[in-house]
Symmetry: C2
Amino acid sequence: MHVAVTGAAGMIGRKLTDRLVADGHLGGVGLDGLSLFDVVEPATPEGWTGVLDRAVLDLAGPGAGDAVVARRPEVILHLAAVVSGEAEADFDKGYRVNLDGTRHLLEAIRRAHLADGYLPRLVFTSSIAVYGAPLPDPIPDEFPATPRTSYGTQKAIDELLLADFTRRGFVDGIGIRLPTICIRPGKPNAAASGFFSSILREPLVGQEAVLPVPESVRHWHASPRSAVGFLIRAATIDSALIGPDRTLSMPGVSATVGEQIEALRRVAGDSAVALIRREPDETIMRMVSGWAPGLAATRARALGFTAETSFDEIIRVHLEDELGH
Amino acid sequence: MHVAVTGAAGMIGRKLTDRLVADGHLGGVGLDGLSLFDVVEPATPEGWTGVLDRAVLDLAGPGAGDAVVARRPEVILHLAAVVSGEAEADFDKGYRVNLDGTRHLLEAIRRAHLADGYLPRLVFTSSIAVYGAPLPDPIPDEFPATPRTSYGTQKAIDELLLADFTRRGFVDGIGIRLPTICIRPGKPNAAASGFFSSILREPLVGQEAVLPVPESVRHWHASPRSAVGFLIRAATIDSALIGPDRTLSMPGVSATVGEQIEALRRVAGDSAVALIRREPDETIMRMVSGWAPGLAATRARALGFTAETSFDEIIRVHLEDELGH
């Protein structure tokens, strides 16, 4: 089996590729080829001995979609995106990458389908940003997408395209709405949600972190390891189980910032918690006030998608996967 | 005030233009200019003495959006679209006109806004086709858009774009989800919903009509006169009343085909009803089975959008407006 990954150089993309290489198969089918695409050159996965394409690719550029499908990968994991903060700050770039990039990929798959019957599984990473205030807690699966950001708008549009291209038989598409991924390793990215990770990640290694919102803020989280698990599950699940609404809200942990901090205290003590500095930020508070407090994720749970069940577990995953505990 | 209309040569476009010319104002502001656009040349409105631009324009073509905003119309009524049957039959054309055409128009408005602060009211005609089975009856305003056709997908995407461009302050957009317009005058178009009109229109002038679905089929209707009323209301309503969800489901009449036929019998007698020939069509039945039976339209009614309240009234409007009764 040949698998293509867009956004392969990103945090989730690298973890996903490592998992694929470590497993050596996808859904029980041996993996013999990998195509890795990103706007920066993806690294060669350690220990990989099969066919490998690595390419620097702007998905919104001419011919990019055709490059992704050139080897007719049976599975395409489409992670490439401009994150929420950047899509809000750079209107054109957000639409170009998050809408045009995904549409060009869908169109390239359709052209290949019309040419030779190609019909890959396409896993699209959507986001809980498709939901906009006022929101119930938890948000049921049938809640409408009413995004209040350009990023959420672009993801909601992609979900609609994915469903229509799948309904028309051009692709076998499944979308997954990722929770906020916590704890993100490494440096903060341009996502406005960055503090959810940094208030844990930095204190765990003895560094200060800034908390821009009140402790009462409730949000929806899953670990990077869970995100990779969602992608693998979506890549291998029986398509017929999904039905016409092709995008599923993923499970996660609903927690307040205060609950995050108490989990940190249990794991790393008062001295770690003392490293969190309160610096209220009106802009971030206003953005976060419209975010999802929690999701029912009923369909996804019934279909075997699993995540952590507590913030202690999310921190433990970080200690194991990033800090070698 | 200058008003632009896309799709001006279509059935609703012509009725809308006639109404604007007859009124001589829009929301109490005198009308001195009209720009009419369509893929076929729009007619000169009878009795119009103000500034008039008429242009043959493919909205998805290069520069088309800029042409629409060239005179900086205070109001743009965007009706141009490929209808449902055609969008399903010609995938590329549907996306090109219904998605790219609308997006290009929004982008042109944004460019003008960034250049000189231009901020028009844009009225976008959406459709109940954004709703897909399984559907409650009536469909509440907060029901999610889960289209089951390419046409419905394109309209749902346009609604998302309209909301985001409005939220960002580039345009003052309001979308209206039109019911199936009944009784359409003239010849059938490529819409799969055509029979809802023809089973009344043809018998009213002594001609045969074909009914492809059972009498139990329930659907959501408003007259062409009501559609024009919706557009005028959307063009003039206080924008602040709408909130962040910029598209409203329009009121109408929920009726079964059997109830339509009984209304015809009351108006035109048994001899008219006898002209309806049953010719079951599996394809149309399958399509129609997923259509909206009725909408609550609570927000729109509260905001002063009004439609007929019975099918007898819908037939009476047709007799008055089309047959000179």
